[in-house]
Amino acid sequence: MSLLQNGFGKGIRLKVFTITLVPLLVMTLMLAGYFISTRIADNETALIERGATMSRLMAAAAEFGIISELTPQLKALSKGPIQESDVKDVIFLNATGQLIYRSTELAFQFIPRPTPTYNQQNGYWLFATPVMATGILIDDSPEYSEQQSPEILGWVVIAISSDPMRQRQLDIITNTLILLLIGILVTFVVAARVGHTLTDPIIDLTELVGKLQQGQLSARALEQSDAEIGSLERGINLLAERVQASNQLLESQVDKATQRLRKTMQYLETQNHALHKARERADQANMAKDEFLARMSHELRTPLTSVLGFTGLLKQTSLSFEQQEHCRIISQTSTMLLAIIDDILDFAKLQSNAIHLESIPFSPEECIHSAIEMQAQSAATKGLELIYQVSDDIPPVVLGDPMRLRQVATNLIGNAIKFTEHGHVIVSLQRLESDDDTIRIEFTVLDSGIGIDPTQQAHLFSAFSQADSSITRRFGGSGLGLVIVRKLLELMEGEIRLNSMAGQGTEFICTLNCLPGAAALKGTSAGSLTHTKELIIFDRHRSSLQALTLLADKSVARIYPCRTLQQLSNYLEQVSGVNSALMFGLSADPAIAREQKQHIPALFRGFKGNIMLLVPSLNNDVTEITRVQNHHNITVLTKPLRKINLHKWLSHSATKSGRSQLISKLPTLTPGTKVLIAEDNDFNRLLLTRIMGTAGAVVSEAINGMQAIQLAEQHQPDIILMDVHMPRIDGIEATLQIRQFLPNVPIIALTANVVSSEEQALTDAGVNRIEYKPINDTRLLNTMRLLLKQEQGSLPPAARPHDEASATDLSHYKLSPKDLHAELLRQLTALQQGFSAQDIHKLRNHAHQLTGLAGLFELPALELTSSDLSQAVKEANIRKTWHCLWRLQRLIEHHQYQDDAGDS
């Protein structure tokens, strides 16, 4: 019962009993069944075999008895078998089946058969065997032969009772079943016993594991078993102990770790705080670094510019040759130092991705040209031909960063000149096919210099590396130029590659992407034919000649290119007329140039048309030629020739020089007209003074509003030109005050601003006319004439800023670009001083002046940057201020503001 209650229900106990008992039972039953059936079958078989054997033997023995039918014989024969307990009858039958003899009388039926048979009848087994004649051969001759088959003489039938056999079978079954029962009983008892010894500990262990799972780690198994189960019990106990121990250990470790974590978190918090402070310090330091960089650049540049400026001044004094040479060296080294500082700063900014490209409209042709012009002097000094080839498909205007492109060009051209001792530097610009809307421009600088060894080419674009360390010693430089170039080109989605062969020259090929510009900055008619019909072009240098021919190709009906003086002389004889022109390219080689100069007077003498003398640099002394020749139709220009200049030159009448003609076109004022100019910017004031002077006026100058009021009162001017933004008293206030005592004097306000409120304020103050900067001399003079009633007519509507393309040509007023540059430098210096002194007022003032200047002379890049500077100063953003200042510095010092102002 307990088994049923505890074990048979489920679990291991049932399984143990099953695997123990079931196979055993099955096997036992099968064996018992097999044993019983075999024994019974054996018993029956034994009976049958016995009966058959007995019957066979009897048949063999009974042959004589049956033949002779002698009953006593048969009786004697049957005595043996009949003594067996189960043999109940022995019967002898003759061949006809008739009974001869039988032992007892039993009722059964017998059907004679020719073979031994046995069957059961009435509880008897009957075994019948035919008695066959076993004859002998007695005839010698076939004459006596018998044709006989084996003859059946009779039958012997033995009747065996089946009762004893059945009794034996019963005994077998009974005994086997008793044995089986005992076996099963014993097996069951043994299985139950063994099962218990096996399952009890396992069940206990299972319960223990359950307890352990529930967390009762103190629970232990009773170690009562031997062998494997015993090992298991001990093992589980050991495991439980270890788990308990490790649990305790873990708990303590977790406690410790938690404490440590807490401490760490506290520490981290402290650290975080410290980091925060450190970051603040770093930010401050970074800001300080920026400031330092700005200051350093300024601090380095200010003295350098002073050095340069004073060297320039020193040069103008009477110096001995030695002193002049020293001045030149000072100037050269200072410029180099300045360039190196700029390079380093550029590189640093590129490295930190601090440079962002601008996207403003510019002319790529002019941009590169301005870079070439800057280097023209040094090329000329070295006697190098500097050639500029521009393909026709270069768009006049694209969107991009002209300043950076010029920087790239300046760098590459500068390098080319630097590393070329003889020959030429060819700069070419062409457009490449591009898949998208962008304009792909290829800019190539080819020189005939020392070249670069292939092994050194790989290191060429590495920072601070030059092709050869000896180059640094020989040519100087920071070694950053090409790195900066490459970085800038990458920013322009371009690339740079080079072809070079040592000793033969180098070709740098740059490609860059620009966006297409909206419209042409200036309408040029360079493409159309001019009135010059025939043009003789002379240049000894093949590429230079080619470039010039290409340049003039579209503008002239016929071109006669020639490379020798002899050829030129021939052409001059053939072509001579007012509509013909001569373009003479003076060789860059000083020796050849000297020779050419000797021939020039003779060559030019009989020529009626315009002559353009292209010199490598303006330093070339050609005044002698022009003076001696007294050729009013000679125009001297520097190489390379600008397309616009060519066009202008070709468009001029052959009879008069371009300059006199241009000047004569300007309107004049009635001589003695008193003009008061109120302008705080020195350069602007100078320009206005010159314009007025040229126009025949008497000028009085005021540098601020206050002074303007005083001078107006003193001089009673006929007309007043009033700058709006002036220190102390601005133009509006000054107008208001002047109007009080000079109510009718025309006052023209000059402003670069486009704010309508300011416009209104000026009108309210009594300004007659607002003229927007940049100043157009013709327009201004015409307006003045109208206001002064020196000319009848109505005033044209006020022009909007920048809507007129014609700015004043400084050269007309003996104001060279150098004067402008000097003025710009002055402004820059003032700005830098203001920045150093953190003088916001000064910064704003000079930023404003610079904006005015830029506006006046149509310098968009400069104007943009200076207005950015004004904005930055207004926002008190030091970093931006410094950035704008730095940009201004670059623009001004490297003449990069001139991209669009070149022809003004």
Binding site: I67, T134, I136, L137, D140
Partner: protein, 321 residues
Amino acid sequence: MDKCGLTRQPLNCGARIMLSLFGWLCIIKLCVASAAAQALIVLSNEQQPYQIVSREIILQSEGPVPQSISLNNLHQKPSGYLQQFSPIITVGSAATDYVFAKAPAGSQIISSFIPQPGYRRLLNRYSDRLQSLRHTALFLDQPYYRHIALARAVQPSARSLGVILGPTTGKDLQALETASRARGFTLNHDELVSNDNPLQMLQPIMARSDIFLALPDQAIFNRTTAKWILFMSYQQHIPLIGFSRSYVDAGALAAVISTPEQIGRQTAEILNRFNESGALPQASYSAYFSVITNPQVARNLNIELPVPSQLEARLKEVEQR
């Protein structure tokens, strides 16, 4: 087992074939030479005893070599085939039966190697036909006197001779009694009726006799009973005189027989005489015979048995008297 010295030694198989081939060659040759007087030997079948008889006839014949043919081959021949031969020697009952039936009138027929009862049956069957034929016979079996003489020679002191007659031998009782008397025996006899058990009948006869004579009658002496008759003779210590070599081998004390060679030889003599005189003798038993004994049985029965040659000599001596 001793063999009779009068018989020819059996030849080995190869020699026999050679001889046979030689014989056939002679026959073919002589057939071409003198076909008119040629004898035909018709064999009942091709078993060895018939072959031996035929060979012996051919070897011993002095006139034209007889031609030999088996009954099976003869069946293939045209109906007038037998006409060209004289005499026709039949070997065995079947050949005799056929020739009696088929032989043309006037044919001379010598029936050899045939049991006397069988010949008698054929004579009865073809009694009409035999009117037109000349015929004689040489029997295979032995005359009763010769058996009885052997019984006397074996047991000189015996007084009663047991014998059972069957359907075949029943009518010879008179001859038996005569011969028994002549040899000094009292004949104990009984005759088997159809349903009688021969063994049951034999037992009292044997019990009363000093020596028992087995006669060739299949109703009594057959494969089944022969063994048990021997068993009974052993049981009762009565010596049994058999009628064949096989029976002597099986357990009979002695027997007198004519071998095929002896039959052949005598047939050849008849043929030779016929060829010479054209006369056919009366049907008779073979003059040549052999005695066979079983010394082992003699020892068991405590009989001192003379050697077969002595017995043969004694028999011949008796016959010559």
